[in-house]
Subunit: 104 residues, 2 copies
DNA sequence: GCTAAAGTTCGATGTACGTCAAACGATGAG
DNA sequence: CTCATCGTTTGACGTACATCGAACTTTAGC
């Protein structure tokens, strides 16, 4: 049974938190990969593609930071985590930001 | 005799450095004020407008970080510092970024 | 039920960073 | 030449954060 992990509402998005999350190279690499597919993806696949040399705890930490910033939505399905970028929400609150940061 | 303080070339702009600089609320407040006038401005005026409750060393530190990130150009004129946003350079390297972050 | 697999949480560690007081230039005014 | 002014640099301090190993949680497969 899929359950969505807690995430902030669009109203409570904080630019400082968002920029801090995106400032970290590893997290930005994850976001860049995620940004390519607007469909939900297995987070492990993204980790594979991003090819960072980081441990599992660190990856988990980064995903949490991204989620708590409102940048991604994470759904737990079985043992896996399905992630996707909250494009519309981010666009509603900070128009053009994701595009500017993650290229396009 | 006005002398420009050292600053990075457009080629060497680093997105991590830029985002880290913009992530800090105080620095972003300075940038937001600076962004309103495309003309060079006395940095003390900006500090006044931004109305942060920070000491002079801290303000000086923040201006340095912004300058070394390539976000602003600082020119020393006498005892004063004249600052302006490097709009075109930033736009050339990270199109839409400043607008997205600093509103418009 | 076991056991392996996928992530998370906890604890510890080292580093980066925002902040200020004090001391230090550098410059304009008298 | 002083002296006050504007800003920077230095040193110190506390906090935040990226990172990992180890232990834990949850789930799929048998």
């Amino acid at each position: 049974m899929p359950r969505a992990l807690p995430e902030p509402s669009v109203d409570s998005f904080d630019l400082t938190v968002v920029l801090s999350a995106l400032a970290e190279p590893g997290r930005r690499a994850l976001m860049t990969e995620l940004y390519r597919s607007s469909e939900p993806v297995d987070c492990a696949v993204i980790v594979e593609k991003a090819n960072l040399g980081l441990s599992n705890p660190t990856i988990s930490h980064h995903y949490r930071v991204l989620r708590e910033a409102g940048l991604i939505r994470t759904v737990a399905e079985g043992r896996k985590r399905i992630v996707k970028v909250r494009r519309d929400d981010m666009e509603a609150r900070f128009p053009g930001l994701l595009n500017a940061v993650l290229r396009a």
